[in-house]
Symmetry: C2
Subunit: 219 residues, 2 copies
């Protein structure tokens, strides 16, 4: 495959056609850097979030506290872009030690348009569940604090990966959590994530929203 | 939502973020026309098909005749682009009478890169199932002839919408067919379509491939 066409590669990634890739192809690195920094990423986000607003407004809430949205955390609510700038925007392989120390800094900035939407969801009467593959034991307090400091307050639950799910794929872990929520009677109206592993599997919800992320892939 | 950013709108469509839309927004029409005619559509196809080749080659076939791929027909194997040129590339609402008479002409051209891949699949020992929402009674013989004339020969089955499924959504119809196939012991390795309704629902297969189509949306 020719890797020179960064736009085609990115489309194939964003549609889940290219799966289980480990690093951005070298020839696509300038394209991905440009995409993330020069405006198109934020324009793409704006269009998705506008669509989420429209969809949200079309839903009639039952006021029994069971109408929910699920949001992923990393690169959905808060951004790791600053970290990935130092990793050639995904050109370098995943570095678990460095990434953990980045997370422990508790300084992932909010994605502003998503924070606004998050607040609108809660104001509108939806319950918001944040589900993340981050390890609860190691990163639980840092994640909770980071989210709080960035303005993500008032969600119903922050659900992290407990020891029970350690080593499982995100698809399996997140499917299991969603199954539990549906079992508790919750209706998943929206499901938002930057990875297809947030949006595939079981009980994916009535409407999924894929946030762009051409920098890494989580199984 | 600002409709001026055609690239963002198209990405949101291709990732299934914008669902149930009826026509391409007026402000995006020049963008979509350019996308379809000026090369990017074909470059995007090339990258997807290269990825399908790589994935296909990674599969070990059991030689029990149960290793299959599912391909959609319209705008996956054969193209309606010529028809949609006369409908402002999706700017005009769906016209079932005109579209039917277009299909009855039996002259949808093959998408060349897909025809090549289709032949490779069969050569490699996979069984190919073509599943289409086209009405079997009205369009069955025209569809079979059109596919034959364009070189799509040797598939295991062409499965069309029988009266049993008339009026059902494509997601429901195609899920039901896939469930039957899995019940017959088939292993769905690849599932290829230009609509998310080909690729969502039940028994979607081990790997889905979304072919670009910014011109129309099928529920």
């Amino acid at each position: 495959m020719s890797m020179e066409n960064g736009a085609s590669w990115r489309l194939a990634v964003e549609t889940n056609n290219i799966q289980s890739w480990s690093t951005v192809p070298e020839l696509c690195l300038p394209y991905v850097k440009n995409y993330m920094l020069e405006g198109q990423y934020h324009r793409d986000l704006d269009v998705i979030i506008a669509e989420m607003y429209d969809y949200m407004k079309s839903i009639t809430i039952k006021n029994d506290g069971k109408d929910i949205w699920i949001l992923d955390v990393d690169d959905t609510c808060i951004s790791n872009l600053k970290y990935y700038e130092g990793k050639r925007f995904g050109g370098d392989p995943f570095d678990p030690v460095m990434f953990k120390s980045w997370i422990l800094k508790e300084s992932c900035p909010a994605i502003p348009s998503m924070l606004k939407f998050y607040k609108k969801l809660i104001e509108s009467g939806f319950k918001v569940f944040l589900i993340t593959g981050r390890d609860e034991m190691q990163l639980g307090s840092s994640t909770a604090l980071n989210l709080f400091l960035q303005g993500f307050e008032g969600h119903e639950r922050l659900i992290m990966r407990s020891s029970k799910y350690r080593g499982q794929s995100a698809v399996k872990f997140k499917s299991a959590i969603r199954k539990e929520l549906v079992g508790e009677g919750y209706r998943i109206h929206g499901n938002v994530g930057d990875q297809w592993s947030d949006l595939t599997g079981d009980y994916i919800g009535a409407h999924t929203f894929k946030i762009p992320n051409p920098m890494y892939f989580v199984t």
